[in-house]
């Protein structure tokens, strides 16, 4: 399976640069603005992750929760999300797009229908927060058939034995959760510790691209440059909240912020 995500990592390897991956929520602060944000930050990020909001997000901290609640309040649903993905993908500077969310939303929509729709609108990857291996084997296979990269997660609590099995069933990317935490908490482990865990994963299969997320922000991002990719989510979502509070344009603010993140990575 070769898709746009592969190509992005290939390029990163040649340039010896980690990829910057953003996470925002589709529909936050509203449908139109969330698309504008995505287009605007595509100037600097290599891959975009887009959350489809759920109102019982049991693994998210306050920043991403706020983004999700705002999106739901603005009436965004999966139908809108797919339409907005399609719009984004038409944009000339669009980047590979990963959808991320909770299983309830997919289950309600219908697993097969969901994956089919993902393919139709041009989704490149999928993360389901609360459908851990091996419960995700079916949907992962379905994704593979449709050339969508299903992304498995690995946590600091994952045993080595389990990790090997997860990696064996994984597609091109693995998502390394940096610490024992929900999203949006202060990084409570050292960069050294994260890189140590990263190496353990890489040693099991050096061909897999391992991206690191949870707790990454402009303060710590440069210390993690050795990883294949870094995901910044809560810090970006928080910036949306802040700009709304200060009546600033979130599109402009986020463009600036992501530019700064990118600079710190090089």
């Amino acid at each position: 399976m070769r898709n746009a995500i592969d190509l992005a990592f290939q390029k990163g390897r040649v340039e010896k640069k980690p990829l910057l991956i953003s996470y925002t929520v589709c529909g936050d602060p509203n449908k139109k603005k969330s698309l504008e944000i995505l287009k605007s930050i595509s100037e600097y990020v290599n891959i975009v992750e887009w959350g489809f909001a759920h109102n019982c997000p049991t693994a998210d901290g306050p920043d991403i929760q706020n983004s999700s609640y705002r999106a739901i309040k603005n009436g965004v649903n999966l139908k809108d999300t797919f339409k907005l993905v399609k719009d984004y993908k038409k944009y000339k500077n669009s980047k590979p797009l990963i959808l991320m969310g909770y299983y309830q939303m997919i289950f309600h929509y219908g697993e097969k229908r969901f994956v089919k729709k993902c393919k139709e609108v041009g989704v490149d990857g999928l993360i389901v927060v609360d459908l851990p291996w091996p419960n995700n084997k079916d949907i992962a296979k379905l994704c593979k058939k449709n050339s969508i990269c299903f992304i498995q997660l690995v946590a600091p609590t994952t045993t080595k034995k389990r990790m090997k099995m997860i990696i064996k069933d994984s597609h091109q990317i693995l998502y390394q959760i940096s610490m024992i935490s929900t999203t949006g908490k202060k990084l409570k482990v050292s960069s050294k510790e994260i890189i140590k865990n990263n190496k353990i994963i890489k040693r099991i299969n050096p061909k897999k691209n391992v991206v690191v997320g949870f707790g990454i922000n402009k303060k710590n991002i440069s210390s993690l440059k050795k990883c294949d990719g870094l995901v910044v989510g809560s810090a970006i979502c928080k910036e949306i909240s802040t700009s709304l509070k200060n009546r600033q344009n979130p599109v402009k603010k986020l463009n600036k912020m992501v530019k700064e993140l990118k600079r710190k990575m090089s």
Partner: protein, 404 residues
């Protein structure tokens, strides 16, 4: 879908934690997988461990003050002029509700796991209060997650929790009720699962949590079975009526009786009218780590609910009850706020010795509806699973007085 013979209710699941192949499971973040597997292993070991069982029995007997009574409500029976109405008065336990059992067992498991911190969710405050008390008894540090709406309407229990030394974490997201408290508590667990034991307040959540809960409340039906044999010399033909919030009290009240034919023992669950996934044919959904019938909107979001009773104000229900419903073993109906209040009023007027909280008052509505239609030799037993002191203010406001 079938109940497998000779297997306890909580063990009717498959290797992935699904009851009837579709209810329950483990829809949890990767971070919590290992801690939950460890907990599962520990729980399965402890429930076979003679020393642990002895310890549990010791605490049930000495700390929770032993068996709760079973008695006939003579006046109510006479008044309604039909079936005999019996009360299994679980509210007589030290802790005033069935939540005492799983709070205590969770504290003992936390201790056995070598953990010092325990966290739990609460709606009515009954689980929170009991967990706070058990934590104090076993010298554990305790945090209770509670919606801000519930903190206001169940103030007496908040006071109990604080006095027992627990830290209360107010939850203001969403509807600021139980569903949000459970979500926030689970988030806390994901972030602290290496040091902290999670005690889920009802028979909900990932497989091991609902198992621990229903395992603990099963004490109610073990006692009832013994008391029935003493009283009647046999297990009589009867109807067991219980309120359903998450479903922990009903699971415990029924668990010893699920293998009896329906004609012999009928199981009736009563939901709150606007939190009634089983009564309203709600869709299957994933909530708090498990697949269950649950109120959702057309987009698949979890619906906000309303009940006068904080302990019932929850959109989902235990996978165990989804299973009992679809196997046809139990039937479910609902009662409104007003019906529960009217039942409370009638029962407390006739039977000054019982004071059901608003939760069991819901099932009393169904008891009152059924009894006159049945013969005098028929038996209805309801689970009086909580005491009304916590609802004093609401009751006073709604019916004009609080019975003394």
């Amino acid at each position: 879908m079938k109940i497998r013979k000779g297997i306890p209710l909580i063990d009717q699941h498959d290797k992935n934690g699904f009851y009837g192949g579709k209810f329950g499971g483990n829809f949890i973040a990767e971070t919590a997988i290992k801690p939950i597997q460890d907990l599962s292993k520990l729980f399965e070991k402890l429930r076979k461990d003679k020393k642990f069982l002895k310890l549990k029995d010791y605490y049930f007997k000495n700390y929770l003050k032993g068996e709760t009574p079973l008695f006939k409500l003579e006046n109510l029976t006479d008044h309604l002029g039909g079936a005999q109405i019996w009360c299994k008065d679980v509210s007589a336990i030290h802790g005033d509700a069935h939540k005492a059992y799983h709070a205590t067992v969770n504290a003992l498991i936390c201790k056995a796991a070598g953990k010092k911190y325990i966290v739990g969710d609460t709606g009515a405050g009954m689980f929170g209060k009991n967990l706070a008390m058990a934590a104090r008894e076993l010298k554990l540090k305790c945090k209770i997650f509670m919606g801000t709406k519930d903190i206001k309407r169940q103030a007496p229990n908040v006071k109990f929790m604080r006095e027992a030394g627990a830290e209360i974490i107010p939850v203001s997201s969403g509807s600021a009720t139980l569903v949000d408290a459970v979500s926030e508590c689970m988030r806390y667990y994901v972030s602290n699962c290496d040091t902290t034991h999670l005690a889920v307040g009802s028979a909900i959540g990932a497989n091991v949590f609902l198992k621990i809960c229903a395992y603990s409340t099963a004490q109610i039906s073990r006692e009832l079975k013994k008391q029935l044999l003493e009283e009647f010399g046999e297990i009589p033909k009867m109807k067991l009526v219980n309120v359903i919030g998450g479903g922990s009290s009903a699971a415990g009240f029924w668990s010893e009786f699920i293998h009896y034919p329906k004609k012999h023992i009928e199981l009736i669950g009563v939901e709150a009218k606007y939190c009634a996934p089983l009564t309203t044919n709600a869709k299957l959904a994933i909530l708090h780590g498990a697949a269950q019938y649950c109120l959702t909107d057309k987009n698949g979001q979890i619906k906000e609910t309303h009940s006068i009773s904080a302990g019932l104000d929850y959109p989902g229900v235990s996978p165990l009850h989804c299973f009992l419903k679809d196997t046809g073993r139990a039937r479910y109906c609902s009662a409104s706020d007003e019906q529960a209040l009217a039942a409370f009023k009638l029962v407390t007027q006739l039977e000054p010795s019982v004071k059901p909280s608003l939760e069991p008052s819901h099932c009393l509505h169904e008891v009152i509806r059924l009894a006159p239609k049945l013969n005098e030799d028929e038996i209805i037993i309801y689970n009086n699973c909580g005491h009304a002191y916590k609802d004093r203010k609401i009751i006073q406001e709604k019916i004009g007085y609080y019975p003394t």
